[in-house]
């Protein structure tokens, strides 16, 4: 029954491989990838309950004992993120059915979509640092192809930069693994944590390696001085692809910081976690400055992705239970709501025929549903109580206050306000104001484009209203992070 843990990786992988054989049969591609996505949701939710009832689930691949073989570890944090990923990917897949054009669909769009999900889920579930690198590459190579898929001028231009940045950060990842292997002599995360804990001198080299990993994962997850590549490249691809990128890719980088900074590098936290806190604060501020400055709806949203990275990492840096719980709640909320917002903005751009705010206006007259869904999603993003953003932010503030980081909490509140301003500006300019286009010559219809975002908004409301039910799961996840011994014992079984 422990083989169960590998199913979330296996389902999208096998589906992708099967789909490679029938590129021109678009209906078959759609049906099979839909079935696989639904299956993935079911399996991962079942895994959540299994982890809840029986503790951390591990799978030793090939039957090799943990420090020697690769081990898959489904602890609560990983499996909650896998479930969120599966739900977001299902919604984005439904959106792709209507929004991706036929040419793209014939050229392996759905297989690469499945491979991307394989990489993301694998990165969440692995317990080995080099295996994490490999799953990162699975995810990144699929994302290189999806970002340039279709080959328009803008996509080619931006994907060149995107690939370059990620190739360099991958080389740094290999270098980081090399240093870590030289110091500790193992690659399994639990074993690494134990070895590092037993190094008597608390060697400063470990702090250096921790910072190197922060640079690597900060490049993947768009942390403050390393987010420069993100805004242009996420605005280039079609909105379905941008949605899956905005919702999932940066989150894998954040998760890796979460994991390494709470399991592996936990023995000299004063220095590393202070850096993390300061960088998180700067990420919030610079992200929100970008979001307020831009006039292009896609750009505004893309900068909001960066702000969320800051919020979550601030929670990680506090090293308190509230902070961790807030970060986990906020991470799950942000995956869902960023997916929804990218999809809604995609529908807006389809309807208005432009992504520039100045050329939009009065969309609410003919697209009331879209308008109010967008409004709800914005309220959820900012954290208005009944919706999902509230509980995460509340816990983050509590964690920040109990860690004594008052300035960063203040920066967080101010940037929340500015996030509200930047998004509500889209609502007021785009949906109200002078009608720019009469119904007859509006560019497209929203047929099929609203249902996926409706699903995601419903999930977001579910997270908000059902916070009480979700709370024990998140509390378990936070406890595992706060006490890495639980993780180590589950993996090494001593």
């Amino acid at each position: 029954m422990t083989n169960f843990v590998i199913l979330p990786i296996l389902i999208p992988l096998l589906t992708g491989i099967i789909l490679l054989f029938f590129p021109k049969k678009v209906t078959f591609q759609k049906v099979l990838s839909f079935i696989a996505s639904v299956l993935l949701v079911i399996v991962s939710v079942m895994l959540v309950f299994q982890v809840h009832n029986n503790g951390i689930q591990t799978l030793e691949l090939g039957g090799w004992q943990p420090p020697f073989g690769i081990v898959l570890v489904a602890d609560m944090l990983a499996i909650l993120l896998v479930s969120t990923t599966s739900i977001v990917s299902l919604a984005v897949l439904l959106y792709s059915f209507y929004s991706i054009d036929a040419e793209r669909e014939k050229y392996y769009y759905y297989p690469f979509f499945q491979f991307l999900i394989t990489g993301v889920v694998g990165a969440f579930l692995t317990g080995d640092i080099f295996n994490l690198f490999v799953f990162f590459e699975v995810m990144l190579i699929a994302s290189y192809i999806l970002i340039v898929h279709g080959g328009t001028k803008v996509q080619l231009r931006e994907s060149f930069k995107y690939v370059l940045v990620n190739v360099i950060s991958s080389a740094l990842f290999v270098a980081g693994v090399a240093y870590l292997y030289a110091v500790a002599g193992t690659l399994n995360m639990a074993h690494l944590s134990e070895r590092i804990g037993s190094l008597e001198t608390q060697a400063p080299i470990l702090t250096v390696i921790a910072v190197l990993f922060l640079i690597v994962f900060g490049l993947k997850g768009a942390l403050f001085p390393l987010y420069f590549w993100l805004p242009a490249s996420y605005a280039a691809p079609p909105s379905a692809i941008a949605a899956i990128f905005g919702a999932l890719l940066t989150k894998v980088g954040i998760y890796s910081i979460f994991r390494t900074y709470s399991v592996v590098f936990v023995h000299d936290t004063g220095y590393t976690h202070q850096i993390l806190a300061v960088l998180a604060a700067l990420t919030m501020i610079f992200g929100v400055v970008g979001a307020v400055a831009h006039q292009d709806v896609k750009k505004i949203l893309v900068y909001n992705v960066i702000v969320a990275v800051g919020f979550v990492l601030f929670g990680v840096s506090t090293l308190t239970e509230e902070g961790f719980m807030g970060a986990i709640f906020y991470l799950m909320h942000d995956m869902v709501i960023k997916g929804a917002l990218f999809l809604l903005i995609g529908a807006m751009v389809v309807v208005a025929g432009t992504s520039h705010l100045k050329d939009m206006g009065g969309l609410i007259k003919h697209h009331a549903q879209l308008g109010w869904m967008f409004f709800t999603a914005v309220m959820a993003l900012v954290g208005i109580p009944p919706l999902s953003g509230f509980i995460g932010k509340l816990l983050l503030v509590q964690g920040g206050v109990s860690a004594g980081q008052y300035w960063i909490v203040a920066a967080m509140m101010v940037s929340s306000l500015l996030v509200l301003y930047s998004m509500i500006r889209i609502f007021l300019n785009g949906f109200y104001g002078k009608i720019q286009l009469e119904h007859a010559n509006q560019y497209g219809s929203t047929k099929g484009l609203l249902l996926p975002s409706a699903i995601l908004i419903a999930v977001s409301a579910g997270i908000g209203l059902g916070a009480e039910m979700l709370y024990p799961f998140v509390a378990t996840a936070a406890e595992t992070l706060l006490h890495p011994e639980i993780y180590i014992d589950a993996v090494l079984k001593e």
């Binding site: 190579i141 690939v163 090399a178």
Partner: protein, 113 residues
């Protein structure tokens, strides 16, 4: 020996960084290859270069060299090979489509600037 290899890795990283900071596509791509060479050399060095037989049990030697980093490097090599070939084709396609291989001319993010 480790010191020499570390210096070599450093030189490779230095040369690669210099190439990546230049403007032409092909130089950038060669730079990324050199950087990944540096990373692979580093991985081999960091695991220790103590003398020992190649990791083949048939040799029945007293000591073997560490097989783990060799497996890691093999994995990293094929990954970087795949990515580099994709990157080459991407650079070629971008050159065809935009008509330039100068990264300075690839500025701008959308039709509004």
């Amino acid at each position: 020996m480790e010191i020499l290899m570390s210096i070599l890795a450093g030189v490779l990283f230095m040369a690669g960084t210099y190439m990546v900071l230049s403007r032409s596509f092909i130089r950038i791509i060669i730079g990324t290859s050199i950087i990944s060479h540096g990373a692979h050399v580093l991985l081999l060095t960091m695991a220790g270069l103590k003398t020992g037989a190649p990791p083949l049990l048939g040799l029945e030697a007293g000591t073997y060299s560490d097989p783990l980093p060799q497996a890691l490097i093999l994995t990293a090599i094929v990954i970087s090979f795949g990515v580099t070939s994709f990157f080459m084709v991407l650079g070629y396609r971008a050159y065809k489509e935009t008509g330039t291989d100068d990264t300075d001319r690839l500025r701008g993010t959308d039709s509004y600037d």
